[in-house]
């Protein structure tokens, strides 16, 4: 093939082809990531949740920080169902989504901090002390502690140079700490609950 054949049309089709390829693979990337996404508060356990959620979008519609995402490019079980991606935007624990869910996929929860601390469990915290600026000595950061609605319980600061410690049993998994963490690859991550990490009820 001679270079002369690369007229405008060919170049455009090539660009278009590359574009669609990246769009497609972006879909694949998303597919892998969803294993790390969280369900909104009050969600039924995996399996029961997919059976009850009619994918009506009402939880996302009323969410004040717009942290509930619906992604259609996912396997059928998860396509267009609600997910919170805290690194993007975290849940502020307003419980509005649980008030409008028509099916009980999100169980109704009163906006009482003490009650929320007891019943909400969106995920569990995982701190990488290698990446955390307070632990690896690159900074005096304690943002995660400052934004946590349950600070001094779910996150505590200790030591003469304050460093955060996370206490999974007291953390509701809202992800506000992950959203606030200034490290590119967040040092604190809220992981979805899997069978083995599920807190005893």
């Amino acid at each position: 093939m001679k270079w002369g054949k690369w007229d405008r049309r060919r170049v455009l089709s090539a660009v278009l082809g590359l574009f669609s390829f990246s769009a497609l693979t972006a879909g694949l990337r998303v597919r892998r990531a969803s294993a790390e996404w969280l369900r909104p508060p009050g969600a039924l356990p995996p399996g029961d949740f997919e059976a009850a959620c009619i994918r009506c979008f009402r939880c996302a519609e009323v969410c004040p920080p717009q942290c509930i995402r619906f992604d259609a490019w996912l396997p059928p079980a998860e396509a267009d169902t609600p997910f919170v991606v805290p690194a993007d935007r975290a849940c502020t624990l307003c419980m509005a989504c649980t008030e409008v869910c028509p099916t009980g996929a999100l169980g109704r929860i009163e906006r009482q901090p003490d009650l929320i601390a007891l019943v909400v469990k969106m995920g569990h915290p995982e701190l990488s002390k290698d990446r955390c600026l307070a632990w690896n000595g690159k900074g005096n950061c304690h943002l995660c502690h400052d934004v946590c609605p349950y600070r001094n319980q779910a996150v505590t600061l200790s030591g003469d140079r304050p460093r955060p410690e996370f206490h999974p049993s007291l953390c509701v998994g809202c992800g506000l700490c992950e959203e606030a963490c200034p490290v590119d690859d967040q040092a604190i991550r809220i992981r979805p609950l899997s069978e083995k990490t599920k807190a005893p009820s």
């Binding site: 399996g47 029961d48 997919e50 059976a51 009850a52 959620c53 009619i54 994918r55 009506c56 979008f57 009402r58 996302a60 519609e61 009323v62 717009q66 995402r69 619906f70 992604d71 259609a72 490019w73 059928p76 079980a77 396509a79 267009d80 509005a96 008030e99 409008v100 028509p102 099916t103 009980g104």
Partner: protein, 276 residues
């Protein structure tokens, strides 16, 4: 005659009313909230001051995948009662996809004027029962609410919400676009007539409906105006299935000789149509 554009307008307003409670009506949430968001949802599921409405198809899906709950049954009651009385009115007056069908019918007549060939495949309407059955079986077997991925009111509701909140509609728009092309080039109003799972539910429920288009054949001059105007590609005078009539009344309004009328069987005339 004058009634046709008016009916179009009213129905389009009614269609958007079906999604009025979606995010674009922030004003709804400006109303006193009585402790919870005042209004939310698309036609698939609506909440308004604590009143909860569910599409009967959503109720069926929930019953298939989960155990029984009164609230799901109660949520569907208003829709069921209305459809039993008014027939498939939902399809013409509430379903947001009716706008797409209207656009596709308009595109068809435009294409016809331009001399572009389109097809009108007549798929047996009972096919929709098959679609409904397959989706409910899939829901029961997989334990996932799959009908919501293929039912236009649910898809459009989500797509609109995503456009408004996040600026992109995603795969839902692709699906609706594909249906538009199918309706435009392959089968006129084909999806609603022959494939829509919710339409199948409404078809069944509308059997006893006492509100019907009646014919007064001697007055008909065979002008064909009603055949053109019917959103559901029916021939209101000669070949019409009441179960597939969305009670839009456009054929009644367009008929120049009053050969068609929309009546309440056992009652007086409900809408006598355009008087000349």
């Amino acid at each position: 005659m004058l009634l046709v554009p008016l009916l179009h307008l009213i129905q389009n307003v009614a269609d958007s009313a079906g999604v009025t409670t979606s995010p674009w009506t922030g004003w709804v949430r400006g109303l006193p909230s009585l402790g919870r968001p005042a209004a939310s949802g698309a036609p698939w599921s609506v909440g308004l001051y604590g009143l909860e409405l569910l599409d009967p198809l959503a109720t069926l899906g929930l019953l298939a995948a989960r155990s029984f709950s009164w609230s799901w049954l109660l949520g569907a009651v208003p829709a069921v009662v209305l459809v039993v009385f008014l027939g498939r009115y939902f399809c013409g007056w509430i379903c947001p996809y009716a706008l797409v069908v209207g656009a596709s019918n308009a595109a068809r007549s435009l294409l016809a004027k331009l001399g572009v060939r389109t097809y009108d495949l007549k798929v047996p309407p009972a096919t929709a029962y098959g679609v409904l059955l397959i989706l409910l079986l899939a829901t029961a077997v997989t334990g996932q609410q799959v009908a919501s991925l293929f039912y236009p009111p649910a898809v459009i509701g989500r797509a609109l919400g995503k456009v408004i909140l996040f600026g992109s509609a995603g795969a839902g728009a692709v699906f609706i676009g594909a249906l538009f092309l199918f309706d435009t080039f392959v089968s006129r109003a084909g999806f609603c007539r022959s494939f829509c799972p919710g339409g199948a539910v409404f078809r069944l429920l509308s059997i006893p409906s006492p509100v019907k288009v009646v014919r007064h054949a001697p007055a008909c001059t065979n002008c064909g105006a009603c055949d053109v105007v019917c959103n559901f590609a029916q021939s209101p005078m000669t070949d019409r299935l009441d179960q597939d009539c969305e009670r839009c009344g456009k054929c009644v309004a367009v008929c120049p000789t009053d050969a068609l009328g929309l009546v309440l069987i056992g009652g007086g005339k409900k809408s006598p149509g355009a008087r000349t």
